[in-house]
């Protein structure tokens, strides 16, 4: 195992980890703001990828417009679901929100799966940089991976600006910290819940678009969200930067485990890590960062 291989595996791990991290970010964002555990982030991711694909391939929009419109559509979908369905299960009843979101996820997966054109073939989002590679020193890095990493970094920067510099971001943070006090300060808590679900769904859609060049687009691609739970737990469940960092960490560990450990361990390592973290550090690695989204 040379250094070059190590760098290449590391880069692909970071890229996959970025997708995990984005999904974990959307999960934690919703959990912090509304107290609801969303088990449909994977399905939102899948739906986002399909909507972008449909807009690009079937409606013939240019890729940039298709991605913008698709992500906006998913954000609107998240807001709509919150307004109509999810709002009715506010509060700490984990099981209710869990089953409700899981049911909604099944509806999404089933609906997409029932469309023959979507379920009978694997799809690929045709990207201008697909298949290209960048030589850096002796290592060959796939362009897709670099784009995923760059896009995630950009998105993280934009989110930081949003949370630190805008009134809506401040209100959302206030709402996550203490909904009662935020309401007394004149923040519309219900509006913030809608915003959190819209942001969460939009983020999941972005993750779907970023995942599309790495894997195929198919109705079960949402399973990748299962790796977001270890990422969120590693980050302490309530920390947004922690979730992103946890995702990247899981991605790297998984890639290195695929390289060094016997076959099959790769898929279990994230969950073993999660179990270990839950038992040893119930507050998560990022407990110190808590309260600073």
């Amino acid at each position: 195992m040379t250094t070059v291989t190590l760098i290449q595996v590391f880069a692909s791990g970071v890229a996959t980890g970025c997708v995990y991290g984005l999904v974990a970010l959307s999960f934690v964002l919703i959990y912090k703001a509304t107290g609801a555990v969303s088990f449909m982030q994977g399905e939102l991711l899948m739906l986002g990828a399909f909507v972008v694909l449909a807009l690009h391939e079937a409606a013939g929009l240019p890729l940039g417009a298709a991605v913008t419109l698709g992500v906006a559509a998913l954000a609107a979908c998240g807001a709509l679901l919150e307004r109509t369905v999810l709002r009715r299960t506010l509060g700490p009843a984990h099981l209710t929100a869990l089953l409700l979101t899981f049911g909604l996820g099944m509806v999404m997966r089933g609906t997409v799966g029932a469309v023959p054109a979507a379920s009978h073939a694997m799809h690929r989002l045709p990207l201008p940089f697909a298949g290209a590679s960048v030589r850096l020193g002796g290592a060959t890095l796939a362009a897709e991976h670099l784009v995923v990493i760059a896009a995630t970094a950009l998105l993280a920067g934009a989110l930081t600006l949003f949370f630190r510099r805008t009134r809506a971001g401040l209100a959302l943070r206030a709402c996550s910290e203490n909904a009662g006090v935020a309401a007394l300060m004149g923040v519309s808590v219900a509006g913030m819940h809608t915003l959190a679900w819209a942001l969460g769904a939009g983020l999941a859609a972005v993750a779907g678009v970023l995942l599309a060049p790495v894997t195929f687009i198919h109705p079960n691609m949402g399973l990748v969200a299962l790796k977001a739970f270890p990422a969120a737990v590693l980050g302490g469940m309530t920390s947004l930067p922690g979730a992103l960092a946890g995702g990247v960490f899981i991605g790297v560990v998984e890639a290195l485990a695929g390289l060094a450990l016997p076959e099959g361990m790769k898929d279990v390592v994230p969950y073993l890590l999660m179990l270990a973290v839950l038992l040893l550090f119930p507050g998560g690695f990022a407990a110190g960062l808590r309260g600073r989204p």
Binding site: L100, A114, V268, L275, L279
Partner: protein
């Protein structure tokens, strides 16, 4: 036995009339053998559902790993049956393995609560599924195992009638056991833990012990359900016992009403009947219009969403 308030909840006369009418209709439409085979599945799912009702409905813990416990029971039964171990010996072993798995899954509950514990059961289930795939010398990995029919001594349960009989006897025994547990001191401890852990601990209840026992007993029921399921379906593979099954069991309990033992039976009826109804309806549609599996999943999801919104207590709930 009612879990919510300790008062007895008997499915009313109307409920039984509905079940009888549905059963008669099923026999009339589908033929006797088919209906009996489905009855065996309903009873088996109800046994597994009782395990979920104990853990989720009585003790109030969110378990996302119940499907893995079912898988442990199913694989134990399959492996023993293939080696010629008679069922009267292998069934208790399958139950014990499910109970042991439940004990293992409940260990993090000593330190974690609520959502964190749910995440640990999720990790447990995924690790068990991967272990079933990778332990190829015993489980033949993803290729799966063919399971011979249930053999009790010299008697082999091959016909649908025999299978339905065995499943119903097992369900009746499991039901009686659950009734006793729910009505006992342990059952009251579970409901106290469900309502308020701190208050329960203050009242002298050993919270960790109550949770562990709920998982051990629920796991044993799951193991029994899994063992019978392996025989009825005749083939086990790891992906049958994945996360989807854990959620299906949660849905089963929730659709039926997790706080009532009878919820397990109602939920099992829905879980078995809904796919059959959907596939019958899809056959009527022009071919190629839509995928049956997708419609089935979407309908399941819609039923779940509607029930959660309109009838949060489940079908057996009084609200």
């Amino acid at each position: 036995m009612d879990g919510a308030h300790g008062s007895p909840s008997r499915p009313g006369f109307a409920a039984w009339a509905v079940i009888m009418a549905l059963a008669a209709l099923a026999v009339w439409v589908l033929g006797v053998d088919y209906a009996l085979a489905q009855a065996a599945f309903v009873a088996t799912w109800a046994i597994a559902g009782l395990g979920v009702v104990l853990v989720v409905g009585q003790c109030g813990q969110v378990s996302l790993g119940q499907g893995a416990l079912l898988g442990l029971g199913a694989y134990a039964q399959a492996v023993f049956a293939l080696r010629g171990v008679p069922a009267q010996l292998s069934l208790p072993l399958a139950i014990a393995l499910g109970a042991g798995g439940g004990w293992l899954a409940s260990l993090p509950a000593r330190r974690l609560g609520g959502l964190y514990f749910a995440m640990s059961t999720l990790a447990f289930a995924l690790v068990v599924e991967e272990a079933l795939v990778r332990w190829e010398s015993l489980t033949r990995g993803a290729a799966g195992l063919a399971v011979p029919p249930l053999a009790l001594g010299g008697w082999v349960a091959e016909t649908p009638l025999a299978q339905a009989l065995v499943a119903c006897v097992a369900l009746a025994l499991a039901w009686l056991a659950c009734r006793r547990w729910a009505a006992s001191r342990l059952g009251r401890a579970w409901r106290a833990v469900r309502e308020d852990e701190i208050a329960a601990a203050a009242a002298g209840i050993d919270v960790a012990r109550a949770k562990t026992l709920a998982f051990v007993l629920g796991g044993g029921l799951s193991g029994l359900g899994g063992a019978l399921y392996a025989h009825w379906i005749g083939f086990v593979s790891p992906e049958q016992f994945g996360l989807m099954l854990s959620f299906e069991l949660l849905m089963l309990a929730f659709i039926g009403g997790a706080r009532h033992l009878s919820g397990a039976l109602w939920g099992a009826l829905v879980v078995v009947a809904l796919p059959q109804g959907v596939s019958l309806a899809v056959e009527r549609l022009p071919p190629g219009l839509a995928g049956a599996a997708g419609i089935e999943m979407a309908l399941f999801g819609a039923v779940l969403v509607i029930l959660v919104l309109l009838r949060p207590g489940g079908l057996a709930g009084s609200r």
